[in-house]
Amino acid sequence: MSVRRLDIEGVMGVFTSPDAIPRAVREAQEAYLSDLEIFLPIDDKASVEEAHPAPSAVRWFAAAGALFGAAAGMGLCVWASADYPLVTGGKPILSMPPFIVVAFELMVLFAAAGAVVGFLRCSQLPDLTPDSAWRQELAVDSPAVLIRLVPTEESQSLAEQVLREAGARQVRRVPKEERGVLEEVP
């Protein structure tokens, strides 16, 4: 039997509320349609956890930044004080209590910077080219699930059926299209 291949990005189900997303994700995964993407107008923890169960790696970036910052802060104080050994107020050249303050501040600074770098790296941002599936309403009031890689008529029908049964108010095919940088999308 010949199978007709379709030139589409996937099938997208648009829902009324974020509360419908976890079920849609679960049912798609149960139907072996696991290459999917969710779009949410809010940070809905349950939906995100359903689609991305692994813990975020951002914390490791922050931890690395914290270690680097603390070491850099302490290193800077010790090195600069040793390089210019001026006694002030009768205090030792290497006075640890004030050095700890500098180390703490730089620890926090680099940990925060690490968190931002981790966020950019893990979420693959910046990416100024909108996806084929992207529409303005997704950021406003319409959570959605995009099931990718549905090249055949059969798998496409299955994806559409799964999304409808999960309560999608609108199911549509997303054609593959190249979009430009910061291209205006309706």
Binding site: T16, P18, D19, A20, P22, R23, E37, I38, F39, L40, P41, I42, D43, D44, K45, A46, S47, V48, A51, H52, S56, V58, R59, A62, G73, L76, A80, S81, D83, Y84, T88, G89, K91, S95, P98, V101, V102, E105, L106, V108, L109, A111, A112, A113, A115, G118, F119, C122, S123, Q124, L125, P126, L128, T129, W134, A139, V140, D141, L182, V185
Partner: protein
């Protein structure tokens, strides 16, 4: 056995979270509310009109006065100010401490309320964070202005040089530089990270160069699952870091004074005293900014009287804690029997009496009115009270900084006439307010004043609770 209302909500919320079958999945009301919120907040950004232009011009005029005054000081030197031995720290340093205090409250309150998942946070977190950034920039200007030779401010930084001269890391003044710069940068990250999803909404509605700017600032955010996944973690980490950071920063600022041996300054109570004062003045400034903003931008529906009530409760709490610090300080001076400390305190209460007692009224007495629930929801009253608290906190900084220096260990140098604020100093103070309000107006003009995505989440939570109550046949508490 009948379940308590809170147990029913919890049970149903749990079901909604893990099962998510039915529930609010098909509730069209949520979409409508999300859309209305987005349109209202985005619509408020294009604010203009005569009042806005007038406010902008007034702020720009005040900035101009500040610039001319600073030019005069640079041109003629610090002799044009009232600074003289022994009162070498006065108007500028008091203002620096006050502005840093205002700045510290924003991120601290926003971060702590985020970590505690406070329901009322979205109503004023964005305003508080914006206020933080602007206030810290304003605050940073004061030590530089106070230097006199402002072009040498870079000496504060540990930069490599041929003579191997390094600043001393044992000085609290240098710790201040590190603390405040760290706070500024972390606050920028915290503010921007929270703003990214909302900037994407702004991008989708903007045209031309504005679209490009919003697009770049929002990094191409599309609200994908992995975007939210890592955003949540990064935002949570920075909020967790910001909380101890702000406590440390105002502690370091307090060390500028308490590590000196000057009577009136040399006290271990200064760190908590400064941190509490910072939060207190910052909350008052949030109210001062938010009350006109909610009326003029049409945000009354989203910044409700209930939100103001919560904010007023926080202000009351801070006032009580601060008053406790005052009482402890005065008690220790009396109980410690250090004559110079006593003379110093007496001087603050008499020579600086009008300022001292006004400060006491504004910080410790007037806020007690917030025990009355009606007054916590009375908008004009809250606005006036917020101004009084701002004034009281500024006077407190001035009385502590200048008042203490007036009676140091050298009686021959005691300032007989006291300290007189000169025209240039008034000009620079006016300029700092101009800078602050000018930047705040630009913020209101170009960025969403409410965190849209976060507010939507709170709306959804509220709907879920309502749904759970209805399912259990209960009514929502007023």
């Amino acid at each position: 056995m009948a379940l308590a209302k809170s147990q029913i909500i919890e049970r149903n919320s749990g079901l909604a979270r893990h099962e998510r079958v039915g529930g609010l999945a098909d509730d069209p009301e949520i979409r409508r509310e999300f859309r209305e919120l987005t349109e209202t907040v985005v619509g408020a950004t294009g604010v203009g009109g005569p009042w806005f232009t007038a406010a902008l011009l007034l702020s720009a005029g005040a900035m101009g006065i500040g610039a001319v005054s600073w030019w005069a000081q640079l041109n003629y030197g610090l002799e044009v100010t009232g600074l003289q031995h022994p009162m070498m720290w006065a108007m500028y340093i008091s203002s620096f401490v006050w502005w840093v205090g205002v700045a510290h409250s924003g991120t601290m309150v926003s971060a702590i309320l985020f970590l505690f998942r406070a329901r009322f946070r979205p109503a004023f977190s964005r305003t508080a964070e914006a206020m933080t950034l602007i206030a810290i920039v304003t605050a940073t200007a004061f030590p530089i202005i106070h230097l006199g030779r402002a072009w040498r401010f870079y000496w504060l930084l540990p930069y490599p040089n041929q003579r191997h001269l390094w600043p001393t890391f044992r000085s609290p003044l240098l710790l201040d530089v590190f603390a405040i710069l760290t706070y500024l940068l972390v606050s920028v990250m915290f503010f921007w990270l929270g703003l990214v999803p909302d900037l994407a909404i702004m991008r989708d509605r903007a045209k031309g160069w504005a679209r490009t700017l919003y697009g770049i600032a929002s990094l191409g955010w599309q609200g994908k699952g992995n975007h939210w996944h890592h955003h949540h973690m990064a935002y949570g980490i920075i909020a967790s870091l910001a909380t101890p950071l702000v406590i440390s920063v105002h502690t370091v600022v307090s060390w500028d004074f308490s590590l000196g041996i000057t009577a009136g300054w040399h006290s271990t109570i200064f760190p908590p005293f400064f941190v509490l004062g910072a939060v207190f003045s910052g909350l008052a400034m949030v109210l001062t900014l938010m009350l006109p903003m909610r009326a003029l931008l049409g945000l009354k529906r989203y910044i409700t009287l209930e939100h103001l009530d919560w904010l007023a409760r926080l202000i009351l709490l801070m006032s009580l804690l601060l008053s406790f610090c005052y009482a402890t300080e005065y008690f220790m001076i009396w109980y410690g029997r250090d004559q110079l400390e006593k003379v110093n305190l007496l001087n603050r209460m008499t020579t600086y009496g009008p300022l001292f007692w006004t400060m006491t009224l504004c910080n410790s007495v007037f806020p007690l009115s917030l025990f009355l629930p009606k007054l916590r929801r009375n908008v004009p009253f809250l606005f006036v009270l917020s101004l009084l608290v701002n004034l009281g906190m500024w006077l407190e900084r001035f009385v502590v900084v200048a008042g203490s220096l007036a009676r140091d260990y050298e009686p021959y140098a005691w300032a007989r006439e006291g300290y007189h604020v000169m025209l240039v100093e008034w000009g620079i103070i006016v300029g700092s307010y101009g800078l602050f309000f000018f930047c705040f107006l630009l913020f209101v003009r170009y960025l969403p004043a409410l965190p849209i995505a976060e507010y939507k989440r709170e709306l959804l939570k509220e709907k879920r609770e309502q749904h759970a109550l209805e399912a259990a046949g209960l009514e929502r508490e007023p």
